[in-house]
């Protein structure tokens, strides 16, 4: 600080030779905002380099694109359900009566300069945003990057995903076209299925009977203000925590739990991230320019008496659609009331259950391991077989529901019976996750064995040698020190022991059910069937020393 002032003073004394403009601006800003100390602390912040660490960036950038294009759309969209007769540029809709919301969306598509492109960028970016969050979440999951100290950030990320789903849904509903109206009707049905308060909730949300003339305006403020506002706050918190915790890195020589190896924020990472933003924007813009999305002009305005096939939500809500499509239409009629289990169970019980299962996982694993240490080295998925298997099973569960949600398109495109697909999904909902769990765990164990083999016996070279006595052997080449380190750097937990059932006096110890469950889970995770012991130094040495005997 003081040196800066001195420099200033001397510059003023010299009178002629001023500091460059950029430096003067920076000085000015530093005097008011203290950017020098901020920059000093953060400019050399290190970010490790791996393509999978950029998935979150894809989500971040598509979110920015959504906000930018969304602002443009709000300039022309009328969130009103007043009925008007259309006389705009799209002739096949001439004279059709529709809500102002739908008419203004047609105007955005056909009369506003660049309107259709911006609408399509907005919608494609939304689909990619959610997909990017999904794969980012899976990257964090499979590498164990949710472990201490990042559990809270995992929950923030999960909330961003869940809120993103609902922001997307409310946005999809705004144009008040036949497709989105059917979606809103679906949601109304879900709300109505809630026992006792369902009808009241529905009346409250829609301001009376469905559809009423309020919901577009209400969804509008939810879509452009409430949910994005919360998401923006969560996003900032998410990023601050990433900064604060520092990024995880994969194991490798020189990479420790206490350091981060990579490129500094400025200039390398900033330049790459900035460039990556434009690449993401470019890809989305190209897709939006070439491929139609939600062509509301052929969907027609929403009328409760009309419906179309292929009425599905955007993909991130697709699993709830699937749950409802495959659920048997059970209902209970008693005392003049109907409890629609066919809707209530899938939408109000299983839908949140699917989501919360993955949200709570970090806490479950932390409880099972009892590990209170910080973890900054990312796991290879194979080195945590049970976790990896759980994640894969969850994904299969999710995708089975998605298949159910698109059962009609599976039927028409693969010439199958829609009833057969529905039954397949019903069975697979229960069976497939179990199968995927077992198979994934075995694959992980197999890969661990392979790693062990490689460490102890070297890489298979493919060179076959014939020994003097006629035997054929393949030459194995020992791994380099770096590779050996990378393959053996991971920790392996030992299963939790409850200890003896009785204490030293022969009195039965009190063991809580929780403890027993934890011990059983821990055995499943880290017992003999849960992991292959990584090679120890002694094993390696022994084999090394006996190598000459081959």
């Amino acid at each position: 600080m003081s040196t800066a002032t001195e420099a200033h003073g001397s510059a003023a004394a010299e009178g002629k030779k001023k500091a460059p403009a950029g430096e003067r601006v920076a000085d000015w800003a530093d005097g008011r905002l203290g950017i020098y100390s901020l920059a000093k602390a953060n400019m050399r912040k290190i970010f490790p380099d791996h393509w999978s660490f950029m998935l979150g960036e894809v989500a971040l950038y598509s979110f920015i694109i959504i906000i930018l294009t969304g602002v443009y759309l709000t300039l022309f969209f009328h969130p009103s359900m007043n009925e008007v007769e259309y006389h705009g540029a799209y002739t096949p809709m001439h004279g059709v009566r529709m809500s102002e919301a739908y008419a203004s969306t047609l105007d955005i598509s056909f009369d506003v300069r660049g309107g259709l492109l911006v609408r399509q960028i907005h919608h494609w970016a939304a689909l990619i945003f959610l997909a990017a969050m999904f794969v980012h979440m899976m990257r964090v999951f499979f590498t164990g990057a949710f472990r201490k100290p990042r559990e809270v950030n995992w929950v923030f990320g999960f909330l961003l995903f869940a809120l993103g789903m609902f922001t997307g849904f409310t946005g999809y509903s705004l144009p008040d076209d036949l497709l989105s109206g059917t979606g809103v009707r679906f949601m109304e049905g879900a709300i109505l299925s809630v026992p006792i308060v369902g009808t009241y909730l529905s009346m409250f949300l829609f301001g009376g009977e469905f559809p009423g003339d309020d919901f577009v305006a209400r969804f509008y403020s939810i879509h452009i203000l409430l949910l994005p506002g919360i998401m923006l706050g969560l996003l900032v918190a998410h990023l601050i925590l990433v900064f604060y915790h520092k990024h995880t890195q994969f194991a490798g020589p020189g990479r420790k739990n206490t350091n981060v190896v990579g490129m500094p924020l400025l200039p390398v990472y900033m330049a790459k991230a900035g460039g990556f933003f434009f690449l993401v924007f470019g890809v989305i813009a190209a897709i939006a320019a070439l491929f139609s999305i939600n062509p509301i002009w052929v969907l027609g305005p929403y009328r409760p008496d009309q419906v179309s096939t292929n009425a599905q939500p955007d993909w991130y809500m697709g699993f709830s659609e699937g749950l409802v499509r495959v659920m048997p239409g059970w209902e209970i009629n008693a005392w003049g009331h109907t409890l629609v289990l066919g809707v209530f169970i899938p939408v109000m019980i299983i839908f949140p259950l699917v989501l919360v299962t993955i949200a709570l996982y970090p806490f479950i694993e932390a409880w099972v391991t009892g590990d209170k240490r910080e973890h900054h080295i990312a796991d290879r998925p194979r080195n945590a077989p049970t976790r990896t298997a759980f994640g894969a099973a969850w994904i299969s569960w999710y995708f089975v529901c998605l298949v159910g949600g698109g059962n009609d398109l599976w039927a028409t495109h693969f010439h199958l019976s829609i009833n057969a697909i529905t039954w397949f999904v019903r069975v697979a909902f229960f069976v497939l996750p179990v199968l995927v769990f077992i198979i994934t765990r075995r694959v992980c164990l197999g890969l661990q064995r392979k790693d062990r083999e490689k460490v102890l016996h070297g890489r298979e070279t493919g060179t076959i040698k014939r020994l003097p006595h006629g035997e054929f052997v393949e030459i194995h080449e020992p791994l380099s020190q770096e590779q050996l380190h990378t393959l053996t750097a991971h920790d392996q937990y030992q299963p939790v022991e409850i200890g003896p059932r009785t204490d030293e006096n022969g009195v039965e110890r009190k063991i809580s059910r929780g403890q027993k469950l934890r011990a059983r889970l821990s055995k499943g995770y880290y017992g003999e069937s849960g992991q292959i012991p990584k090679p120890t130094r002694e094993e390696y040495r022994e084999i090394e020393s006996s190598h000459g005997h081959h």
């Binding site: 380099d49 791996h50 393509w51 660490f53 950029m54 998935l55 960036e57 894809v58 002739t91 096949p92 809709m93 001439h94 004279g95 059709v96 598509s109 259709l116 399509q120 689909l127 990619i128 997909a131 990017a132 036949l178 497709l179 490129m263 790459k272 460039g275 990556f276 690449l279 993401v280 890809v283 897709i287 320019a289 491929f291 139609s292 999305i293 939600n294 062509p295 052929v298 027609g300 008496d305 009309q306 419906v307 179309s308 096939t309 292929n310 009425a311 599905q312 955007d314 993909w315 697709g318 698109g406 059962n407 009609d408 398109l409 039927a411 028409t412 199958l416 019976s417 829609i418 057969a420």
Partner: protein, 271 residues
């Protein structure tokens, strides 16, 4: 005159009067419509010729399932009263003769000429009255009200055929077909006759003009000439195909770009 008057209560008097009256009407008719008579007769004979020809075609191509007289068998329904429009639709779109039994008879290449189809239609129409083939002006889309057709389509058709007639699934492997390259006449006839799982929309339920508007709408939004202002349609199936595209190509491109960016990094110089 007296003689006549005396017999006016004769039991056969009424018959005689009736004969006179019939003769007078017939005479008047011949007097006023002589040309029509000859034409009708000629038409009648050509029609019966068509029926004859149609019967032969029927015996070869259709009778094994629908019975020798169109009465139907366990393999095929009765054709009495289905009308010429149904024959024109089923044979004209290649659905009949059916290749094999199944959930639904699909469209295939039509091997009959239009003349042969007309003969078959004439034969089947002679079995019992039903809707006849529409004329060109009934289904010609030019000048029809497309916007109204759209509303009618969304009310009556889209729940099975999708918003723009891309088709959709029905139960147990049945389906509502894509209307993309279906002839205007055949769309009209399908509405008239309700083939397979489709309900029939009689002129009482859906007047001629409405059907023409619907045909015009389908041709506007779902034909080779229809525009897609947003770019490639991705099948026009709505959010499922869009979501799949976003995942495979959208996210796929993002990951490809991420891998590319991550691979091109500033590397510490190795000495």
């Amino acid at each position: 005159m007296k003689k006549l008057s005396a017999r006016r209560r004769h039991p056969l008097a009424a018959l005689v009067v009736l004969l006179f009256a019939l003769a007078a009407t017939g005479g008047l008719y011949t007097a006023f419509a002589p040309a029509g008579e000859a034409k009708a007769e000629k038409q009648e004979s050509s029609k019966s010729l068509a029926i004859e020809e149609g019967k032969k075609l029927y015996a070869t191509g259709c009778s094994s399932c629908h019975g020798t007289g169109g009465q139907g068998t366990s393999d095929g329904p009765s054709l009495v009263g289905v009308g010429a429009a149904a024959v024109d639709f089923q044979v004209g779109t290649g659905r009949m003769p059916a290749q094999q039994p199944g959930a639904q008879v699909p469209r295939k290449k039509n091997i009959y000429s239009q003349d042969e189809i007309n003969q078959l239609a004439a034969y089947v129409a002679s079995l019992g009255s039903g809707p006849s083939q529409p004329t060109k002006e009934m289904y010609d889309p030019s000048g029809a009200d497309v916007a109204r057709g759209g509303e009618l389509f969304r009310t009556n058709c889209s729940q099975c055929h999708n918003f723009t007639g891309e088709g959709g699934a029905l139960t147990h492997g049945k389906f509502a077909p894509d209307l993309g390259d279906v002839d205007e006449k055949h769309i009209y006839e399908a509405m008239q006759t309700g083939p397979q799982n489709m309900p029939s929309f009689t002129d009482g339920a859906l007047p001629e003009k409405d059907k023409r508007d619907i045909v015009a709408y389908v041709k506007e939004v779902n034909s080779d000439k229809s525009e897609s202002p947003g770019g490639f349609k991705l099948g026009g199936f709505g959010p499922v195909s869009e979501g799949m595209f976003a995942w495979i190509f959208g996210l796929g491109a993002m990951i490809a770009v991420a891998v590319w960016v991550a691979a091109r990094t500033a590397k510490a110089k190795k000495s």
